[in-house]
Amino acid sequence: MAEAEVKFRKRRLDRAIKARTDTVFVIASPGDILYVLAPRVLPMALLMILPLVLSGYHGKVVVHACVVGLLALSWELLASCGLFSLGQSLFFGVGAYLAGAMDKYLHLPIWVTIPVATLGGGALCALLLAPVVRLRGVYFAMVTLMLPILFKQIIEAWGILGGTHGLSGLTPFPNEWLDKYLIIVAFIAVLFGLRSLITSDYGLVLKAIADDDRAVMSAGINIYSRKVQALFIAGSVASFAGAFITHHYQFAGFSVFALDWAILPLAAAAVGGTGSFAGAALGSMILVPLSEGLRAMGGLRMAIYCGILVFAVLALPEGIFRFLERKYQEFETVIEVK
């Protein structure tokens, strides 16, 4: 029956504020202000309140989600300048071990180790990957996949930095609230910081490198130095997450180089929708609580993450965030077909 009678259809129209301009919102009324601010402020406010409401184990899940969120944001920054990383665990692990080593061997206080590990980790990762920025796409991904695994084997075989036992008995955060709110505030700051970075002139160049690096080169911009700068920023963000987790668990072992820390941010970005920082953030907020539910599955967890990742890439190419954004910015009414 090809000629099935259709009585109703859906009509989708962009909301007025979206129709006026696509990205720059013209605020015309208090309603418009609310419309623009609500999706930005509400989730963040919710995130700030969560630690007050949740305690114990559930509080840990929030912290964990923010850590994965930082890694996903750092992945997204690299992806938006055309560097496809399979090795977020590298940045994460470098930060974790730097903070751990400074605490263990130099006995530096926590307000020194975390900032130094953040910047030092970013610089170290940028330095490590500097010869590789000449590669792009699949080739860059190959190298970033290899590095953390090789680092892990080096630590294992050489017995440096605590070897297989890891560095334990490190300094904890002075109090629980600082611990929780440090990571939440950092997550929110990085999310909005990177969002405004990528729309600035500097960020536009980074995005242009992903779109057409030859064109950027012919505009007289050194793309390799820009890529190294992007690596430094992304590396710093992920190293901060690593340094944080070291002090959070008071332990740094080579599990920080494990594939979990590479797959989970990637899956978060894929579920939330690649191409937007909010997507990566949303993805991690969805995926991490979900994966905590899978903790009982033990060894199968990684296999399930991978299943989710494959599913997201195949079935949700747009991502959840883009879908929600589209729905938020349009009316959908059912009208009669005449």
Binding site: P131, I149, L266, G307, V310
Partner: protein
């Protein structure tokens, strides 16, 4: 002398790891990051065919190769087909599928002394004053045979030429009547089959466990990056460079230095020649 004989052996093992990956990616342009998982799955299937089904090695080995090839074929039609043409999605999908497979194998208890394969032919010889067992000779023979066959295949058969055509320009390949999906799935299947061949001859040399899959993938990638992907000669050259450097490092400096070798090789090659030692035609488009 010891260095030369064992250097050759470890180089050939590396070449065996890389040959299937290089066929699917270098020749047909499909990155199969499940390569390491398919390799170790080959070992798992052989072991089960021998111990659970009671087959002999001679019967189990070809069956395993066919099974892995079929799995590769299924991987293409089931997953890769939906993301064809988006290189990074192809990579993510195959990588995630590979990790899922490896983690499933680990979870099912695939490690430990129980899982070891018997050698085909248990004897040893003395060549130039170095004692060497028959299995290692077989590894070298298989490696040499595979590389020669592969070389002939991609240059002198219609299917082989179609593989290369697909990698060079998919649209042009389509316009001269090459079925992209069919050839692509054949390439993935052959690469997976070659991973199983490598597994069948190399794994009897040591113990089997699922984590070897990651190692195989890493070595295959290292060889591919150092050699330049589309070049068979480059792949062999890279295997020999990394293989000899590893053997020499293990003997003269200490086994723990072996790990540094592939990394150092990659960094050195990238600084000097970003397209790999013998890579040519993809230099502009993909790498630099």
């Amino acid at each position: 002398m010891w260095l030369i004989v064992y250097g050759i052996i470890s180089s050939v093992i590396l070449a065996l790891y890389a040959v299937g990956f290089s066929l699917t990616y270098g020749v047909s342009g499909l990155p199969n990051f499940a390569h390491g998982a398919l390799y170790i799955l080959g070992g798992y299937v052989v072991w089960n065919l021998m111990n659970a089904a009671g087959l002999s090695m001679v019967a189990a080995a070809p069956l395993t190769v066919v099974a892995c090839a079929l799995l590769g074929f299924g991987l293409y039609w089931g997953l890769l087909l939906r993301v064809r043409g988006i290189p990074l999605s192809e990579l993510v999908v195959t990588f995630a599928a590979g990790v899922a497979l490896l983690e499933l194998l680990t979870w099912s208890g695939f490690y430990g002394i129980r899982y070891s394969l018997p050698v085909f032919w248990d004897e040893s010889f003395e060549i130039f004053g170095v004692v060497i067992d028959a299995q290692r000779i077989m590894v070298v023979a298989t490696g040499v045979a595979l590389v020669i066959l592969l070389h002939l295949f991609v240059r002198h058969t219609r299917t082989g030429l179609a593989f290369r055509g697909l990698a060079q320009n998919e649209r042009t390949a389509l316009s001269v009547g090459i079925e992209a999906d069919w050839i692509g799935s054949l390439a993935v299947a052959m690469g997976s089959g070659l991973a199983a061949v490598a597994a069948v001859v190399v794994l009897p040399l040591g113990m089997m466990e699922a984590t070897i899959g990651y190692e195989v993938l890493i070595y295959a990638l290292a060889v591919a990056i150092v050699g330049g992907l589309e070049s068979t000669t480059g792949m062999i050259l890279a295997s020999f460079i990394i293989g000899f450097a590893q053997t020499a490092a293990a003997r003269y400096i200490g086994p723990k230095w072996m790990i540094i070798v592939p990394l150092a090789a990659i960094v050195l090659v990238l600084v000097v020649r970003p397209s790999g030692l013998l890579g040519k035609f993809k230099e502009l488009e993909e790498r630099v």
